[in-house]
Amino acid sequence: MTAPTYTRADFQTDQEVRWCPGCGDYTILASVQQFLAGLGRPREEFVFVSGIGCAARFPYYMNTYGMHSIHGRAPAIASGIAATRPDLSIWVITGDGDALSIGGNHLIHSLRRNVNLKILMFNNQIYGLTKGQYSPTSEPGKTTKSSPYGSIDYPFNPVSLAIGAEATFVARTLDMDRGHTQELLQAAYDHEGSAFIEIYQNCNVFNDKAFIQLTGKEERVHNRIDLEIGKPIVFDDGAKAIVLREGQATIVDSSKVDPGAILVHDPTRPDPAVAFALSRLSHGPYGPTPLGIFRNVHRPTYESQMNAQIDAAREKLGEGDLSRLITSQGTWTVKEASSNGG
């Protein structure tokens, strides 16, 4: 018997995809569908949960189980699914507003608990569905409908935030790089526990070319830092390298350092300091910016520990008995009714 094979079409629904023409979401949808088809797992194993926003329409287009929930709450809802159903593969689709603004609390807590969720955060640095207000990742000074004099909000660095929230897997990719995206999806799928992937996603209507320094033909060669496991971190055709100086990741000319001093990328370091240092190389897609897996460490998942406690309790006490439960505080018996009372 051979394993069933799936194609991208097996993961598509009959619903018309309604994002703006040219939206980066189309590319991400294609990458995810293609990746799932390649896994060879049946589609009933997958659950896609989203909150609110452009990205949140995603589950409607995935022929799997799915829920389009309420703003910011997808990680909480998905945590409830994961805690009760470790047999499922659960994916959270969210955006920069959904995950970092209204839902920031749920994001950080699901990461620290290491619930087995794969969280894909589409970061377009703008509010798209509400038609163009600044988001928690918009650059300072950004002029939008809600910030005509320029935004005075200082933005989050989502990778730094996830590492700070005790995430066990943190990565970053680009919508239009489908190969790179699928590599990270595979690594996230293979990871036990929460995986957070920031996907730079172009909103061609409200924030076009936000990532041009990483996607433009001219610019990308100078700015894209690919984090490759086990290799020294170099970019700009090898001309630039990353070294650690006083705890900070620093860009240097490759020719001016001892090759042995160049930082070799290892996302499995137990201490998050180096991963955090790498995340501080840029505060947004401006200038040299790392892409790839920043952190990938092992820690028991929330649900495995929850189930272990249940198994241990059953082992020790036996399956719960309702009669014993309701008599556990002591009882007394009244033999026969008498006429006293009133």
Binding site: E44, I77, G80, T84, G320, L325, V334, K335, E336
Partner: protein
């Protein structure tokens, strides 16, 4: 093994037999009054009295010692007949310090027994309580039977060989008081000694100190003939059966576990700690061998969110909180309503608005429960009438949620949650199972699955769990197309779906039992109640009948939909009285739905009704 305390000589103090007595333990919130009260209650329960309790404690864990805000109390009524409330007025007050005396003396019945710990009546504590002069000496206590006890000194003496030291020594003084009370009211001593030994088994010196203090208190009564008269309350003649003493939060938690067993679904409880609902979480977290999953979420919204996820994935999903937390969950409840997932939402009401009175009872979330969501989102609302009723009503909430695929709001309140009463244990094997049928096969043309194809009887949609091959589907908060569940902005469809969701909930009335009228069916006046006022209303009606007047009562456990025969009952009586611990919320609904000039008795003072208040109002309306 613990035995009854064997005293050198049996007590020679004469005793009087009472049919009921109300006792209030009052002290500083660090004095262990809740423990003393609960122990007295349990010993009385095991002795066979009927009883009802009402704890009262400050919201602060330890308000400044010796002050009025720091006073914590526990009231219990025990009787030889089936009582319904914790009593209006204490017959006996234990005051562990001046503040406790100051705060509670006004409630003590004239001629009642007062036990005071004289050791705490020093200048400093008197000043903190606002006494200029020592009330023990200045005549304030005239008219009461006062038992003066230097409780600190006697406790120190009693525990000196047990190994406790420092501040731990005086922690046992609540057990001294308990021992004295055990003598005064002829309580069995064995249950208390056994409890202390078991509870403090890991700190044997504490167990020994508590037992020693308890015995010393008892012996003090015997040896000094501390009171001129002791009191006996014979066992009550309750219905034949096996009983336990239970509070509402515990009975509710057990009801959830029972519903999990009855439905065969694993229990999931997503919640965030809040007074007075947290004890439900604490109780459930202990019972992992029932497969219970408790999830202490990061906030109230995640509490309901995780429960919604668990419901989608096939658990018996529950979230619980109190008013402020339910407000935060409101959007999530509407999502569950829209997606038509089974979900139990528990609201243990407390005094509001905002942080309000976190440890006090109030019924002020009724309108919020019925109408407090955005959009047209009617959901079933049930209310628990008494601590022991919590078990049955919780199972009922699960039954409705699972049968009709809907969130259900289950209302409790601080009086139900923390009050306790004897509960005649049900035969758990005789409780009807809750049938749950998951969708297993496609229900549409060409082997498609239609997630909003409804059952023709219940209008419930099918529950297809992730992992089921061929039934992959998406649900969400956007309006659904009838049958297919696809997103739809069609005007006619929104009308149809809004109506259908409302019909589905209204149709639950077929499972709502008819109301029964208690008392004089031919009376002119009917008292209609809901929730924790049950006991006070019944007891008031008894009192009215003893006064030779006729009164009928009935009690709503189903607030939405209401029982089918409610309108017919209401129209049978000339006068309707609705007592509520709010400003008239049920009255507003009854007047709107039935065009009846119902009168209200409304109290919003952070405490339950006194029986006399309701009885007085009934008599006033009769005249």
């Amino acid at each position: 093994m613990a035995d009854e305390i064997a005293t050198a000589e049996p007590t020679t103090t004469p005793s009087e037999t009472l049919d009921k007595v109300v006792i209030r333990f009052a002290g500083d919130s660090g004095d262990g009054m809740q423990v003393a009260g609960s122990r007295f209650t349990d010993a009385s329960a095991l002795f066979g009295n009927d009883l009802a309790t009402l704890p009262s404690f400050p919201a602060e864990i330890r308000a400044p010692a010796g002050t009025l805000p720091g006073v914590s109390s526990f009231q219990v009524q025990i009787a030889d007949f089936d009582i319904l409330t914790a009593g209006d007025q204490p017959d006996c007050l234990i005051a562990m310090n001046p503040a406790a005396l100051k705060k509670n003396l006004k409630d003590l019945r004239q001629g009642g027994t007062l036990v005071v710990n004289t050791d705490t009546f020093d200048e400093r504590n008197l000043a903190k309580a606002g006494y200029d002069k020592d009330p023990i000496e200045d005549g304030t206590l005239e008219g009461y039977r006062v038992i003066k006890v230097p409780m600190d000194e006697l406790t120190k003496e009693a525990v000196k060989d047990t190994g406790v030291s420092g501040r731990s020594v005086l922690r046992s003084k609540n057990f001294f008081a308990l021992g004295l009370l055990a003598w005064l009211f002829h309580r069995p001593t064995k249950p208390t000694i056994e409890w202390a030994q078991k509870k403090f088994s890991r700190t044997p010196e504490v167990a020994a100190a508590n037992v020693a203090a308890f015995q010393a208190g008892y012996t003090f009564g015997v040896a000094t003939e501390a009171a001129k008269i002791t009191f006996e309350i014979k066992p009550a003649s309750l219905r034949a059966g096996t009983y336990t003493n239970v509070n509402g939060n515990t009975a509710l938690a057990w009801g959830l576990i029972a519903a999990s067993k009855l439905s065969g679904l694993p229990l999931f409880y997503g919640t965030y700690p809040i007074t007075p609902a947290s004890d439900i979480l604490h109780e459930l977290a202990r019972h992992k061998n029932f497969g219970v999953r408790t999830f202490q979420a990061e906030d109230e919204i995640a509490g309901v969110g995780t429960a919604i996820g668990a419901a989608f994935a096939g658990s018996l999903a529950v979230t619980g909180s109190s008013g402020p937390g339910i407000a935060l969950k409101s959007e999530g409840i509407s999502l569950a309503f829209m997606m038509e997932l089974p979900l139990i939402v528990i609201n243990v009401q407390r005094g509001g608005p905002s942080t309000g009175l976190p440890t006090k009872p109030e019924q002020s979330d009724l309108l919020f429960s019925l109408y407090g969501r955005h959009g047209e989102s009617p959901i079933p609302v049930l209310a628990i009438a008494s601590p022991s009723d919590a078990f049955d009503m919780t199972i009922e909430a699960a039954r409705i949620a699972l049968k009709y695929m809907t969130p259900v709001l289950l209302l409790s309140d601080n009086q139900v949650a923390n009050g306790s009463e004897p509960w005649m244990l049900p035969d758990v094997d005789a409780i009807p199972p809750i049938d749950v049928e998951f969708a297993r096969h496609p229900n549409g043309p060409n082997a498609t699955f239609l997630p909003y194809m409804r059952d023709i009887d219940t209008f419930a949609r099918p529950w297809a769990l992730p992992g089921t091959p061929g039934l992959e589907h998406r649900i969400g908060g956007l309006e659904k197309e009838a049958i297919t569940g696809n997103v739809s902005y069609d005007p006619g469809n929104h009308q149809l779906m809004t109506d259908t969701r409302a019909w589905k909930v209204a149709n639950i009335v077929n499972d709502v039992p008819d109301l029964e009228v208690n008392g004089d069916e031919d009376a002119d006046i009917l008292v209609l109640g809901w929730g924790s006022t049950f006991g006070s209303i019944r007891a008031a009606a008894r009192r009215v009948r003893l006064a030779g007047e006729k009164v009928a009562t009935t009690h709503l456990r189903y607030l939405n939909p209401m029982p089918q025969n409610l309108g017919e009952i209401l129209h049978r009586y000339d006068k309707i009285l609705i007592p509520e611990l709010n400003t008239g919320q049920l009255r507003k609904v009854i007047r709107a739905e039935f065009l009846i000039d119902a009168k209200g008795l409304n109290k919003i003072a952070g405490e339950p009704f006194k029986v006399s208040e309701i009885a007085g109002k009934i008599l006033e309306m009769i005249k």
